[in-house]
Amino acid sequence: MKLKKILNPKQLLLTLLLLFIALTMIVPLLNILALSLSSPESSVSMSGIRVIPKNLDFINYRIVFNHPVLMRSVFNSIYITVIGTLINISLTCLAAYALTRPNLTLKKPIMVFLIIMMLFDPGLVPEYLVVQDLGLMGSRWSVILITSVNVYYLVIMMRYFEGVPKDIIEAGTLDGLSHVNMLTKIIVPLSSAGIATITMFYSVIRWNEYFKASIYILNQKDTVLQVILRQFVVLGDTVSLIGQQNVFNYNDFARVDYNALKAATIIVAIIPILVIYPVVLKFYTKDALAGSIKE
């Protein structure tokens, strides 16, 4: 029966097509990984579709992890991601809780205000001038504060909070639970899947953020990995990195293949995403992955 299914020509064609699409998505990533793990002598002439490293060598990672500028930017990225996501999730939970209380008097005007704030984008320069006037220019707090709440995620969080069974909330109210206790002891533990999902979305945005960091953080020592990555990989500025050559091993440096070094830097920027990707699959795309009922 199973064999018959696979040998069906239409199914075979469909499988091949979808696998081809999946390959175009994964091969470029695996190629970058293979490039970063190959020795510089082999990586220079390595095929662009090869997915297995040629002459395994960790030289590129040795350079990346010993590079003062890169490593400091990794720590800055972690710092901004952790503090920023904490602010995001706290503000979002507090606001979502207040807005999902039944009969909140000012709910409607506040929702209208938030939706206007979401839809209307005042533009780059007006925002830039506000950051300047607040004295945040050059500080990492500019990047942390400027994306404190995302209205779209706030609305999703409200849906999760509304999913908490009414009778549990009523029981809590009867027991005289304060709003703070209700939020921390009942709503948050019962919406853990939602909070995990939203935390993950926020942290991906934080980790991938480069534009605001590139205009508001002026000093290279405070900037984030994505900004350095952009200078190096997209703008092809190798000078700012070579400038640091005295600090790493001279032999390593003489051998280096820049494309492979770029590949290693890209991989370092992808790793945190891969770490949280299973959380996405577990909570957000669970239903889609479970597939249809008809089987």
């Binding site: 199914q11 662009g48 209307f120 597939g291």
Partner: protein
């Protein structure tokens, strides 16, 4: 209503607000955030009508900057680029998402389907810097794409990233590469929500796969398609700033320069604050118009608005 009754009502309202004090306190950080980082910038948009001074008050110049924009030859080209890129992304990608969802659903082997899903959702989470880095390497003269083209007999390598003819197609392709899997989720979940009894009834009637797709699956996708279509229309003038910024280089800038990259260049890089604000204002007004338009069209056709 007499004034005593009004007073009484106000008293009750005030009492209620007072009892909800703690809830407003919880909303306060969010409200302050939006006032500081959204409302203040909206006030700053008046800069479009003023000449910027960093120390002294701004001087009013009327429509000077709007006249500069309209008479600039760059602006027309940039507007055209924005519209073309946005429009083409729509035309090419919008049908691709539901089609991909239908194809996934047609796959009998659930292992293969899961594999394809897990792989295709991933690119959505990569930053545009990473994506640009990967594809600059893949599309270079010695990159993987040219290697594959050589296998198929193409002799001369194509330098995709610096070719004015190719760069727009690179943008469309990479947008699809990033979003095909993720943006098809909404359609896929709509398909698996279809009542199984419909399939059974169709099988009894001896319907072919094609008839099932046409008469059962496609109708279930219409509502999410309409919703996604109008939701995206409000962002039509964005055309993908982060992507364009990271995929452009001096050789192709003129053919993919869009409104947002123009605002960034004249505003932040060359410090023409008023001119950039004027472009933002035009873009913002058109954006609001598009959102209102989609809201009311959506209300009319689906009974559901954007809010």
């Amino acid at each position: 209503m007499n004034s005593l009754e009004k007073k009484e009502r106000r008293k009750i309202l005030f009492k209620k607000l007072k009892s909800e004090k703690i809830l407003y306190l919880m909303l306060l950080p969010t409200i302050i955030y939006f006032i500081v980082f959204r409302v203040f910038p909206i006030f700053n948009m008046r800069l479009a009508f003023y000449k910027y001074n960093s120390r002294s008050p701004w001087t009013f110049v009327g429509l000077k900057y709007f006249r500069m924009i309209v008479s600039s030859p760059d602006f027309l080209q940039i507007l055209k680029n924005t519209l073309v890129i946005s429009f083409m992304k729509y035309i090419l990608l919008f049908p691709a998402f539901p089609i991909f969802a239908i194809l996934l659903n047609e796959l009998r082997s659930s292992e293969t389907r899961k594999l394809v899903q897990v792989i295709s959702y991933l690119p959505h989470f990569l930053s545009w810097i990473v994506i640009a880095g990967i594809w600059i390497s893949m599309l270079s003269v010695n990159g993987g794409v040219n290697e594959i083209l050589h296998i198929f007999g193409l002799e001369k390598s194509i330098d995709f990233m610096t070719s004015k003819d190719w760069i727009k197609w690179v943008l469309y392709f990479c947008e699809g590469w990033r979003s095909l899997g993720w943006d098809s989720i909404i359609y896929f979940t709509a398909i698996i929500a279809i009542n199984p009894s419909l399939y059974e009834a169709a099988e009894i009637d001896g319907a072919s796969r094609w008839q099932i797709i046409k008469n059962i699956i496609y109708p279930a996708l219409v509502i999410p398609m309409v919703t996604m279509f109008i939701l995206n229309l409000g962002f039509f003038l964005n055309a993908g700033f982060d992507q364009v910024l990271n995929f452009s280089n001096d050789a192709v800038l003129s053919s993919i320069d869009i409104l947002d990259t123009y605002i960034y260049r004249i505003g932040i890089q060359s410090g023409q604050y008023s001119l950039a604000t004027a472009v933002s204002l035009i873009k913002g007004v058109v954006g609001v118009f598009l959102v209102l338009f989609t809201h009311f069209t959506s209300k009319k056709f689906t009974g559901k608005g954007v809010w």
